[in-house]
Symmetry: C2
């Protein structure tokens, strides 16, 4: 890989998500050469992905070119690369664009979908971790309605309009809410010749409440909002398989569906090469300084890092905040390390969590306060707007929201790249 | 195909471009049942496609859901379908979603790329007729720069950064201008470790001037603007082949390039089934009422229609205006036809044409006035903004332009779906 030589020690960061960008920014004026690697040339703002999937936002408004983030960093070099493995013995990263040596390695590879080993579900269901995946879901939703119009088989039609979302964490809840709003305000106008009462939104959760990482109060409020919007919630139901037609569960319940979205689990996206430190959730065990177990010069931050502690038995929640905070501290610690100073322990500052269900409906958990409703919804929007990178994206998202709010519409309902082959769906005539 | 019965005669329109939407809108309250077919579920605003390709605009801001356009038309039914052929004997359209009978057929299938039979060029060069194609060009441009960073072979690097645009009509000129602006304002900041003086933009034209359908004054002004921006213009040069590495021409000139964009020609996208009326440019010959030669009940409008006349020997220019005007008149004529009244002849109202080269640089030809410069550029922007469908798209495009203007940036430079396999490009290390 072509990276200029430097008199400064080189930090290689794998991943341009919240964690990777956070440390890259903090390393700017700290006498390191920084090499930032990512599969994509952009950072994406995961929390708003579901709005891309449901046509409320354009993909580009939640993506931001990584090169632009590090444009003014003289000693930072971005390369688009797929990392194959790390060689901690030779202190190098092996990727599809060549080998790169490091002095310090920061693994910030985030998380990936967890199908718990079920290949059928992996093959047949949709997920929403990347922008192309969100666009695929958007295409699938719209293609399903086009197909529903064409078939004469009522069973097939119902199956095309039966959305099953597995997993009622923030992603599942927000997606279910957005689909329910489409059903109410957008789809009847678009498909006047389709009986939209046939459309079902089933939200399936393995535990006994939605948003089970949030407060009981927020869970209850979210469930109530969802029910009012027409979402069917199935609690304590464990999905066992999906063959492309039928979702089966551990009980009697089953769903005939051509649109299953899997948001039931994530796991760490650990890289090959630090395998001894990888735990059962594919996260990399780190100490309080984010040092990977057994190493002095290899670090992991964010979703992929498992910092076991008293409060967080299996590591911090896999969200933006721990990643950002770990990235910030690690930049400082790398400087300390290079100066042979003692390192600072990471302490997570929990700023709370929130989820939105629909217009005027959100739930917010602050450390000492839980609230929901219109005000929560405004708080949710405000926090997400200011968290977006880039003035232009903020502006475009803001205007899209204002428009969608007043016009009750989701105009990005365009199928740019069709997703599904029209497999096995009978044609009408 | 499932279309409800109606007591009104049925008009089937193939194509939701400028022509198809124009007639569909005009037929709203005229006692017809309208069935509108398109391969895509959106209308796209072709004139701004080059800004999507160069990262200035989001794809969705120039696309608009067709269902939304016809939402309030009670007797209009949109279906997403690929038409295989028309059977004028049986008065039916055969598509991948079934057969549909018509009383009147309107072919508004537009145009497609014309490679003049050269399979190598078709296989190896990029085109920009659809949104996915524009996004592919965007990906290719950005992937080329990422690859250029990685190679140690200067010849390969130059070839990756050598953009060859074949055809200096509005599309070619606007794309060349946008690339030149990226070279000046965006790329040096994104790729500080790349020598951007190696980047070339070659605009190749078979005739003796750029924009040869416009006035000589506009041609000259455009050529001057392009040269000032650093575009190399090659006039009277006919490209003979492109094998994926080298562009060869009828003369000695050749270009080593990994990025060839073909905008040298379009032809009609005639449907199968009216073959006797198809001319050498694959357009369908129509009379002054847009009736296809030999038929009373089959019509063609827009790019695909060739209405030979004194002023337009081989039909009208393949642009939005003739399509829109023909669509409007044909709606009226269909009503007249159904009432057995005489039909009105089409007379093209030439409103002029324009092209933009870069910030503050555009050329405008009105019927009796040619002007260029800053004012022309504002006229160009204003006309394009008001021509976009939908308030939201207008708003988002407007704000994107304001932002791009003041910040000298093109932030949509994200590779959503990578285009090129890293074929044959050496890795650096």
């Amino acid at each position: 890989m072509n990276i200029p030589d430097s008199s400064n020690p080189r930090v290689v960061i794998i991943g341009g998500g919240f964690g990777g960008l956070s440390i890259a920014k903090q390393l700017k004026n700290r006498n390191f050469q920084v090499v930032l690697l990512d599969k994509h040339n952009y950072h994406n703002f995961q929390p708003l992905m579901y709005q891309v999937a449901t046509g409320g936002l354009e993909a580009g408004t939640i993506a931001y070119p990584i090169r632009k983030v590090v444009q003014e960093h003289k000693e930072t070099f971005f390369r688009m690369a797929n990392v194959e493995k790390v060689d901690t013995f030779g202190k190098k990263v092996i990727s599809d664009i060549g080998t790169i040596y490091y002095d310090y390695l920061v693994i910030a590879t985030g998380s990936t979908n967890n199908y718990f080993g079920n290949k059928d579900i992996e093959k047949n269901s949709m997920v929403m971790k990347t922008i192309p995946e969100a666009l695929d879901i958007r295409s699938l939703i719209l293609e399903n309605f086009e197909l529903a119009l064409q078939t004469n088989d009522e069973k097939v039609r119902r199956s095309l309009m039966n959305f099953v979302i597995v997993g009622a964490g923030p992603t599942g809840v927000e997606l279910a809410g957005a689909l329910a709003e489409m059903k109410k305000a957008v789809l009847p106008k678009d498909y006047p010749d389709l009986d939209l009462s046939m459309m079902e939104i089933n939200l399936v959760q393995g535990t006994n409440r939605v948003l089970d990482a949030m407060s009981e109060k927020s869970s209850k409020a979210a469930a109530k909002y969802l029910k009012n919007l027409g979402v069917s919630i199935h609690l304590d139901v464990r999905v066992t398989n999906y063959d492309g037609n039928v979702v089966t569960t551990a009980g009697d319940l089953e769903f005939h569906s051509q649109a299953v979205i899997w948001s039931a689990g994530v796991k760490g996206a650990a890289v090959d090469g630090v395998n001894d430190a990888v735990d059962r959730a594919s996260r990399i065990r780190v100490n309080d300084f984010n040092q990977v177990e057994g190493f002095e010069d290899v670090f992991a931050i964010g979703d992929v890092a498992a910092m076991y502690g008293e409060k967080f038995k299996f590591g911090h929640p896999m969200m933006a905040q721990p990643a950002i905070q770990q990235g910030e501290l690690l930049a400082e610690n790398l400087e300390r390390l290079s100066k042979k100073q003692s390192l600072k322990k990471f302490v997570y500052n929990d700023k709370g969590s929130m989820a939105t269900i629909g217009r005027n409906k959100a739930v917010v958990d602050l450390p000492k306060l839980h609230f929901n409703g219109v005000f929560a919804w405004f708080v949710w929007m405000f926090i997400h707007l200011i968290s977006l990178i880039g003035f232009k994206n903020r502006m475009l998202v803001f205007w899209s929201w204002v428009y969608n709010y007043f016009v009750f519409d989701r105009e990005s309902r365009i199928i740019v790249r069709p997703y599904r082959k029209k497999k096995g769906i009978e044609h009408g005539n």
